[in-house]
Symmetry: C2
Amino acid sequence: MKKFVNEPSNFVHEIMEGLVLANPDKLKYVPDYNIIYRADMPRDDKVSIIQGSGSGHEPAHIMLVGQGMLDAACPGNVFAAPPMEYCYECTKLMNSKKGVLHLINNYQGDRMVWDMAHEMAEADGIKVGVVIIDDDVAVQDSTHTVGRRGVAGNFFVIKACAAAAEQGASLEELVALGNRVNSVVRTMGVALTSCTPPAKGEPIFDIADDEIEMGIGIHGEPGRRRAKLQAADAIVDEVFQAVASDLPFKRGDQVSLMINGMGGTPISELYLLYRKAALNCKNSGLEVVRSYVGNYCTSLEMAGFSLTLIRLDDNLKRLLAAPAEIPIRVF
Amino acid sequence: MKKFVNEPSNFVHEIMEGLVLANPDKLKYVPDYNIIYRADMPRDDKVSIIQGSGSGHEPAHIMLVGQGMLDAACPGNVFAAPPMEYCYECTKLMNSKKGVLHLINNYQGDRMVWDMAHEMAEADGIKVGVVIIDDDVAVQDSTHTVGRRGVAGNFFVIKACAAAAEQGASLEELVALGNRVNSVVRTMGVALTSCTPPAKGEPIFDIADDEIEMGIGIHGEPGRRRAKLQAADAIVDEVFQAVASDLPFKRGDQVSLMINGMGGTPISELYLLYRKAALNCKNSGLEVVRSYVGNYCTSLEMAGFSLTLIRLDDNLKRLLAAPAEIPIRVF
C-alpha cells in the first residue's frame, strides 16, 4: 500500500486534525463524534445544513464546510456510513430555531443511520428536513443501494440549498429546492484504476492494465460494463450520451457542466476531458453557463472522472453564483 | 499507459483548449505559440507578468493565468521548455509601457530560451525584467539544472509580484520583490510513484513498491536518497527538517506552510501530511499565518508531495492575502 498514512485506524482522524489546523479561525472539531463545523454556527436565523457519509470522498464533505456551503459534516470511516450517534450529535450541535437540513446520498447505510438520527432529533423537538440525492445514471440498484446512487451531483444540491439558506429560506423551502435540484442533475463516472482503503490495505477491486469500468460507483461498485481502454474523446462520448439522454437534456437548455476527478487523475487530464464534453454540449444545443473542473467527490486515489450535467433556471443560476468560502481554496 | 488522452502529440493543445472553453470570457488562446492570456491584458498601467515552462505541472502555469496572478503563460510540451519563439511572442503580446516581467524556474532549458527571448524583446524596445526561482533545497545541481531547481515555491513569487503589479509597482520594484520572495522560500518533495508523459508512454523512472524518493525533482530528477516507505509522520519530519534548517527558519518567524500535491495524491492525504507539518512548525516556534494545501506544481499523475515554507513580513502577508481570480476555482 503506497500511501501517506500512519496507523490506518487514525487515517480519518488525522485528516480532520489537519483540516482544522489549517483553518483554526473558521472550523471546529469534535473528535468524539467526528464532527467538523463552522465556528460561527449554529444561528437561529438560518437553517443549518449538514451531511455525513463515508470518508474517502474528500473534499466531500468535511472540506465543504464553510460559509455558503455546509454548516457541519460528520464522516464515518473510509467508505463506511457514520455511526448513528455521530449523525444525532451533529444534528443537536447544529440545532437552529429554523431547523436542520439533512443532505443524504442514497446508500442504504447512510439512509438508515440518518433516519434514526432524524427520529431521535425530532423526539428532542428539533425540526429536521431531508433531501435524498441520487444523481448517478449508471445503474438502477447497486451493491449498497436500492435505487440510484448519490455521487458528484451532490455538490449542486449543497451549493444551491446553502446559498438559499444564507438568504433566509425556510426549512420547507430548502427541502423543496433540494429535491428540485436533485431532479435536474445527472452524473456518470469512469474508473481507470481501483483504490485502496488504508485499513484494508489492498485494492477494492481488480482491473486490468487495458481496461476501464464504465459507470463506476464511488465505492468501487460495478458500473454498466467493463470496457477496453479507449481514447479520451470516445470515453467522454459514451458518458455524455448516457448522462444527457437520461433527463433528457434538450436543445436550448442552459446547463452547468462538471468534470469531477476521482482523486488520482491530474487536473490536466480533467481539462482534456472537459474539452470534449463542452464540444458535445455545443453540438447538442446545450448552453454551458457555468463550468466546474476539479475534484469534488472522489474515491481516495482512484484514477477516473465523472461527468455531471445540471439543467439551470434563473433562480438556480443565481444560487450557484452566490459567494461561498470553504477550507479548500487556491489562495 | 492508463491516462485520459487522445493522440499524445495533441495532449497539451487539448488541455489548453479545454481551459479556454471553460473560461470563455476571461482567457484567450494563441494555438500557434501555445499562449494562454488574460482577455483584459496587456494594459500600459500595469507590468505584465508571464511564465512558460514545460507542461505536466498543472495548475502551473496555464491555470494560474488570471486577475492577480499571471497575465500569460506559454508552456512547452510535457517536461520540455517552450520553444524560444513562444517566449518571444508571449513577451511581445503582453508588451506594456511599464514592462514585462519574466518569472523563470531555474532549469537550463528554460533559462536559455527565456534569455534569448529577453534579448530579442529588448532589441524591439520592450522593457523586460527577470526573476529566477530556485527554492528546492534537495540537491545543489541536478539533471537539468546548474544550481538549485525551481519548484512549488514559484507560486509565492507569482502571487506576491502579481499583487504588487496590480497595485502599480514598477518593473524594477517587482524584480526586487521577486528576488526577495525567492530568497525566503524553501521547498523539498517526495515521490511514492513515477509518472508517464503521454508521448513517452512509459514511466520516467522506476521505483519499487516499498520505496520512496526523498527530494524528488518535478521532472523525476533524483533527490537525496532512495528510502524505504515509512509512516507519513516520519516522512514529514525528514522533509520539514531539510526545509526548515536550510534558510534557516527561526523561532518567532511568521511563515506560510504549503503542502503541495504532485498530481496523484488525494487531498485527504495532503491534509494528513499538513497536520504533522503544522505540529512541527508549532514545536519549532514558527507561527503559520497562512496555509496552502492542494495541487500547485505537479508532475502529471505522480503520487507525492512537497513541503514549502516561506518567511513572511508585513508587506508579504498583505500581498499574499490580496484578491486574485484564476480559472481553477472550486465554485
